[in-house]
Amino acid sequence: MTLLDSWWDLRDLGHAVAAFLEWLGDRGVPSWLPYLVSTLVGLMALLLWALLSQLFFIWAERRLLARIQVRLGPNRAGPFGLLQPVADALKVLSKEMITPRGADKVLFWLAPIGVVVPAIVALGVIPFGQRMVLADLNVGLLFIVAVSSTATLFVFLAGWGSANKYSLLGAMRSVAMLISYEVVQVLALLAVAVFVGSIRLGDIVSWQGRYNTWLIFLQPLGLLGFLIASSVEVNRTPSDIAEAESEIVAGYHTEYGGIRWGMFQMAEYIAGFVVAATVAVLWLGGWTLWGLEEWVPGWLIFLIKLYGVFFLFIWLRGTLPRLRIDQLMGFAWKFLLPLMLLNVLLAGLEMVVWKETEAPAEVVLPIWAVGNIAIGVGLVVGWALLMGHLRPRNRPARSLLVREVGQIYYRPLEEV
């Protein structure tokens, strides 16, 4: 009953919870009560954090995007527009929820809930601090992937149940993308698991703490693959083709309004937080910061890393255009998948060599770090060249400048 035992293992939310439970235990209450209390406290804390973070990041995203786009962003409601997300939330709450005629009412109603729940559940295994985790599963890594993957079904149902062709197109796109990118995502995580030898998130963090290194140095390629695959999975620009605004209006949630739409928005943010948290745990050392965690609360370090990764998504959103779906799928299968396979192989080889030679970590890890970064860069560049990303067809040209009218300079693209 390991899992059930660890449910109440939420000691670092504050020693308050532990003390409270101890107090309860002293009173001789039935054994299931502390269980229930700690679970509820942990859940409330997670939900509260997720909601507040989300509210803050709605504001932060709008302000940052505005900065990127040489404008000001929301600045009217409250100081620096900080109350803007509150106003938005109130507006969303008070709007009418329309169910389109011809929609499958059950699916239409179920989909927003089904999208939000997995995102929140996945938060449950994230270690926010040394002992601040709702359930430190020994299969934590797999758990995140598994739970996140169920959200896609509900994305599909949202599109399917809406009786809208744009929604249906968005749903088909999201399913096609999930099938492609989940493979990449799992392979990227697998390489980390091979390195650490465990898929318990707490172990991964303590491994990085023990060797005073971050896996970003040892697994740069894996991080790249994971970031790209996750940005596809959580539907953020540049890979938001399931809800591509300029093409299929809003994709699978075209027909949603009011709080149901808000649920999709919430799911997008929380799934983004889960991804950012995964990156922070796996590649950025979680709550550790080379000894600083002795002085600063671990959760603070962790949250700073998490928000930093999330900022990256915002930055990408403000910067990049969107790929077409076949290009995105091709990118997954032809580019990322081979690289991730090689990466897993490389990680396995390195671990074997390390185990066999029994060299000290201070020697081996720097070598692997330098080697992996070099190999990573080399593989990405080499593969891009091999795939023909620098062919003359793709090399940008300037238009010709002519002075006389009447001539024709047309040449079909194939002849180049």
């Binding site: 011809g102 399917w160 009786a163 062709k165 249906l168 009218v405």
Partner: protein
């Protein structure tokens, strides 16, 4: 330097040489041909190496009360000269002439526009439907005798006929 406007008189001579009897009237600014021959004339004008009127700049129709005039502005990109070709239709109820969309595909939408607003039927047009107004709109508003909507709604305008009734199709 600039686009040369070809003389209608000279063009008339050329056309008469190739297709006798096709020119109805010619003045320095334009040349008028018989409506039934516009496709042949157009093809000749487009293919003749000296003229090479390969660019249909503008196609429109004018209601001159007793007749309609279809005006073609033709441009040669290589020789940089322009000409004005006209065809007059003396039929008021259902004016009709051949479509030049087979010669200049660029006439496609312009002919549809002329049909929509002026009511000129272009025979042989691949897809002659109204362009801006919906099927069933009463009359052709650019005609001089189209007097608009006198005080009340025109018959046939009570409902917006563009969209079919939603019939409760299933999902997807």
């Amino acid at each position: 330097m600039g686009t040369r406007l070809l003389s209608g008189l000279e063009l008339a001579h050329r056309l008469e040489r190739v297709m006798p009897g096709v020119v109805v009237e010619a003045v320095p600014e334009w040349v008028e041909v018989s409506p039934q021959a516009v496709v042949d004339v157009g093809r000749f004008l487009r293919d003749d190496p000296e003229l090479e009127m390969n660019f249909l700049s503008c196609l429109t129709a004018v209601d001159l009360l007793d007749h309609f005039e279809v005006v073609y502005h033709l441009q040669s990109l290589r020789h940089n000269h322009l000409m004005v070709l006209k065809a007059k239709l003396w039929e008021r109820e259902s004016p009709e002439l051949p479509s030049v969309a087979s010669v200049w595909p660029g006439a496609h939408l312009q002919e549809r526009e002329a049909y929509d607003l002026m009511g000129i039927r272009f025979r042989g047009h691949p897809d002659l439907r109204r362009l801006f107004l919906w099927e069933g709109f009463p009359g052709h508003p650019l005609r001089k005798d189209w007097l608009g909507m006198p005080g009340q709604r025109m018959p046939g305008l009570e409902t917006f006929p563009g969209e079919p009734e939603w019939r409760g199709e299933g999902r997807g």
